[in-house]
């Protein structure tokens, strides 16, 4: 089945370029020029992935993301053209899975979309579907995370990172292994791992949980939580 990508951007030229590139790669594309239309288009077409510009008009991309996250687990990739917007993304748990800076290469955008949509296959559990370590529990089938029995809301990326860490709490996960496992073919800054690991850690500690993602200097990360 052809997967559908929703492009929400107020720049018509940007939407047109992305549409051509994604259609050329075999995707079905639906477009919206602002936040409210984007939400409406989401509900009408139920896309598999959303490319979302941050700098929209009256309803900015972060607010659109929050509203989408309330109803959808589809991957969201932010489009941003300013470094301060990237900072905002890093510091704000808006629920996006990735970001691409403008100007962009259409080829890279397509590669990121491919990679994000293939993640679910790579993340599919071979046998185990539940992991419990200390106060943390993951259910891969329902994609729910719990801390002391209480659900905690993680983005898709955070959930996948935590899954890698919890599968074998004693194993050290290298940056390369996490990039491959969680992001697939990655063309961006490899520090994306630190960014999302930090967000995951903050989210769990803010909920009263342990500090996950212990740094093993020069090697990578391990879960860092006692069973």
């Amino acid at each position: 089945m052809t997967e559908t990508v929703l492009v929400i951007d107020d720049a018509a030229d940007v939407r047109a370029l992305l549409s051509v590139a994604l259609k050329d790669a075999g995707y079905r594309v639906v477009e919206a020029a602002n936040g409210p239309d984007g939400l409406e288009t989401y509900h009408a077409h139920q896309p598999d992935l959303i490319l979302l510009d941050i700098g929209l008009g009256s309803m900015d991309g972060l607010e659109v993301c929050r509203q989408l996250r309330a109803v959808s687990s589809a991957p969201i990739i932010f489009l941003t053209s300013r470094s301060d917007e990237v900072d905002q993304l890093v510091g704000f748990a808006a629920g996006g899975d990735d970001y691409i800076t403008k100007p962009f290469s259409a080829k890279v955008v397509v590669a990121r979309v491919n990679s994000m949509l293939r993640r679910q296959l790579r993340m599919a559990p071979e046998e185990r579907t539940r992991f419990e370590v200390g106060p943390l529990a993951l259910d891969l089938e329902s994609r729910t995370a719990r801390l002391n029995g209480e659900p905690i809301h993680l983005t898709r990326t955070e959930f996948d990172l935590l899954t890698c860490l919890m599968e074998n709490p004693e194993r050290v996960c290298t940056r390369e292994s996490l990039l491959t496992r969680v992001w697939g073919e990655w063309y961006g800054d490899s520090h994306v791992v630190e960014v999302h690991m930090s967000r995951l850690r903050n989210k769990i500690t803010s909920a009263g949980g342990p500090k996950v993602g212990a740094v093993v200097r020069g090697v990578g990360w391990r879960l860092g939580v006692e069973a």
Binding site: A21, K102, S105, A106, K107
Partner: protein
């Protein structure tokens, strides 16, 4: 003007980019030329991403320079308008090289 490197884009994407470059640059010029002073920074921000994504590298560099001037707190309104005029003039000078541009 060079429209920029192909960046390994597919033939279809590259053809689309080449076909659209002239119109994209014209729209950027129109927007920069006509926007009120208060909107200039936002317009520069918006066209920055578009011009670069369409591989209009020389034009994109001009917008980066303009944005730097506009972001400088010491820039006066007059200096901002001068920077706008310089940028628009340079972008206009880049147009002839794109005239009739088609994918090879």
């Amino acid at each position: 003007m060079s429209g920029g490197s192909s960046g390994g884009e597919s033939d279809a994407v590259l053809a689309f980019i080449r076909e659209q470059q002239e119109a994209v640059l014209q729209r950027a010029i129109d927007e920069l030329r006509s926007c009120p002073p208060a909107d200039l920074r936002g317009v520069a921000h918006a066209v920055h991403g578009t011009l670069g994504s369409y591989q209009l590298d020389a034009a994109h560099e001009q917008i980066v320079t303009l944005s730097a001037v506009l972001a400088d707190p010491s820039t006066t309104v007059e200096a901002a308008e001068e920077a706008r005029a310089r940028t628009v003039a340079t972008l206009v000078s880049l147009q002839p090289a794109l005239h009739g541009n088609v994918a090879s």
